[in-house]
């Protein structure tokens, strides 16, 4: 490991200053759902799954607003690692709780001032984040950041601008509605691969991690900063969104292949029962394309399980999976869009 990695200094390419991406800790202490009736996590309808950083109020029938109460822990290393020495005792920083709901075009950033807090050093900072039902649909992401609150020119090796990210933590997700999820595995997490011994080397762009076989997770390599930036592009016009679509197609091809093969290996040959719920979903997604002659999903599951178990038919299964994914993704259309974008820009 390099000295940069030991101190957790720089995350990904293109980050010009020290940024401690995982240094904060957001803990949810309680969740109150308010409306005609009141609910909290003692009810079955409100679920707080700390290991998955997930709160679900999908089961709550009627509500007006939800209040998430919790703390954000800021360790001393945030101040030591991201601020010039002269500023560490009276840090010019803000704690921001970025609150984002993509379906309602919403980004908000209540800060410590709104929670009547002054961030003056290491410690746990309490917050009560209120989210109104009228403002959200689907999922809401809650992510804490420590950012600079003033410009500085004392030491340009550190962040200089107001709003510069200094530290953060992984986001929590508040589920307020059932989502139309066509494969949660394709909502990737971004990590520098060279920080993880169990990940492939830094040349890889993506990695499907089966550490917990019940919830495979897709990671993108933050070491490829420019590509990850393109993949996070939210636009619809121009070269970057076109390139993003092609890049995602390439990743999807690989990911669906792994998921389908893994599902085929795990499904019970006799009963067609999958080992994990995601395997049922993945096979269902491809049921029209995989073996078009087979109408019943259960029969399809048995068929791919048989093929996977049989050395002779494994190549047939791999071929069928490849064809099915290509039918679903429609590579030529995306590639043509990108090509035409290039022509327009010539």
């Amino acid at each position: 490991m390099s000295s940069d990695e030991l101190s957790g200094r720089i995350v990904g390419e293109g980050f010009p200053h020290n940024y401690l991406e995982d240094a904060l800790e957001l803990t949810v202490e309680s969740v109150e759902v308010r409306g005609d009736n009141e609910f909290d996590e003692d009810d079955d309808t409100v679920q707080v799954v700390t290991s998955d950083r997930r709160i679900s109020i999908v089961g709550v029938p009627q509500w007006d607003d939800v209040v998430v109460n919790g703390t954000v822990e800021i360790p001393q290393k945030v101040f030591n690692g991201t601020l010039p020495a002269e500023q560490r005792d009276d840090p010019p920083v803000q704690l921001v709780l970025a609150t984002r709901c993509s379906r309602t075009i919403l980004r908000r950033g209540p800060s410590n001032e709104e929670f009547d807090l002054a961030v003056d050093g290491e410690g746990e900072y309490q917050f009560s984040l209120k989210i109104e039902r009228d403002d959200v649909r689907g999922e809401v992401e809650i992510q804490p950041y420590v950012v600079r609150s003033e410009h500085q020119s004392i030491d340009v090796d550190y962040a200089t601008q107001v709003g510069d990210r200094l530290a953060s933590a992984d986001a929590w997700t508040l589920e307020v509605d059932e989502t139309e999820d066509d494969g949660g595995f394709l909502h990737p997490r971004i990590e520098p691969f060279d920080r993880h011994d169990s990940f492939p080397d830094g040349e890889h762009l993506h990695y499907l991690h089966f550490e917990d076989p019940s919830t495979p997770k897709l990671y993108l390599n933050a070491n490829h900063g420019r590509l990850v930036d393109v993949l996070q592009n939210e636009g619809t016009r121009g070269a970057d969104p076109r390139f993003r679509d092609v890049l995602y197609d390439y990743i999807e091809q690989s990911v669906w292949q792994q998921l389908l093969l893994r599902a085929a290996s795990d499904i019970d040959v006799e009963t067609g029962e999958p080992r994990h719920p995601w395997q049922e979903e993945v096979v269902e997604l491809f049921e029209d394309e995989l073996y078009p002659d087979i109408d019943e999903t259960e029969e399809l599951r048995r068929k791919i399980a048989e093929d996977a178990a049989s050395g002779d038919d494994l190549d047939v299964l791999v071929h069928q999976i490849d064809l099915a994914i290509q039918r679903r993704i429609d590579h030529p259309q995306r590639a043509t869009d990108l090509f035409q974008e290039g022509l327009h820009n010539d």
């Binding site: 970025a98 993509s102 950033g109 107001v162 709003g163 939210e234």
Partner: protein, 234 residues
């Protein structure tokens, strides 16, 4: 009052080239199996009247239609963000309630289908959804002066609304205030170049700066600084 229906994806198969060209229309009866109730009722009268005036007063394809219509779209369709996130409502509005308006504004473009059928998290494409959401992210309560300012220049409306940073209201307001036509028309480079390069560089800056960490004054300072650098470089 009119109940806004939700048109599901199955109904999209009925959107033919003849419909897009205005050679045929679709009614609620035609799309019946693909419509579901939302319980959201609105009085469409002001928008009906505005749409009629638009067709009488503006040439087909005139981009100024957006500026004239957006505040009325937003005021008439008095929806919460949660309600506005139901994509099928916008398909119902474009296909059944206002197809002539959509064709009057967008009938000349190749991608007219997306003006009827896109939506969701893409606030750039669907003809009515686009006006509503751009009004939503630019208004200040009942004051739509920023909505009118952003539509004064299509480049500004497109370049801001198509970016993820536009979901954070202080940044959207700052972009409009610093980049609107009256602020930059006396500067030497072309307005569209200033807007395009400033918003592109702002997006790049916001990969390092946390957008949600900026309030309105800080956002104005940042956008102004980028705009001034862009003008100097052009």
């Amino acid at each position: 009052m009119t109940e806004l229906m939700e048109m599901d994806e199955g109904g999209q198969a009925l959107i033919s080239e003849e419909f897009l060209n205005g050679e045929t229309e679709l009614t609620e009866d035609d799309l019946g199996p693909y419509l579901s109730h939302t319980g959201i009722e609105v009085d469409l009268t002001p928008l009906d009247e505005a749409a009629e005036n638009i067709r009488a007063e503006f040439e087909q394809g005139d981009a100024k239609i957006d500026q004239a219509l957006a505040p009325t779209v937003h005021e008439t369709l008095d929806l919460s963000r949660r309600e506005a996130a139901i994509t099928g409502i916008w398909h119902y509005l474009t296909v059944i309630e206002y197809p002539e308006l959509v064709r009057h504004r967008w009938g000349h473009v190749n991608n007219v289908r997306e003006k009827f059928l896109e939506g969701g998290e893409d606030i750039y494409s669907n003809a009515i959804h686009r006006l509503w959401w751009i009004a939503e992210i630019t208004r200040d309560g009942d004051d739509y002066s920023r909505t009118e300012a952003i539509f004064e220049m299509q480049e500004l409306a497109n370049d801001v609304s198509d970016r993820w940073f536009a979901r954070h209201q202080p940044i959207t307001h700052a972009c409009v205030d610093v980049l609107q036509k009256s602020e930059i028309e006396d500067l030497e480079p072309s307005n569209s170049k200033i807007v395009s390069k400033t918003t592109t560089q702002l997006r790049e800056k916001l990969t390092v700066i946390c957008a949600e960490g900026l309030d309105y004054p800080k956002a104005v300072e940042l956008v102004t600084q980028i705009r001034d650098d862009v003008v100097e470089d052009l």
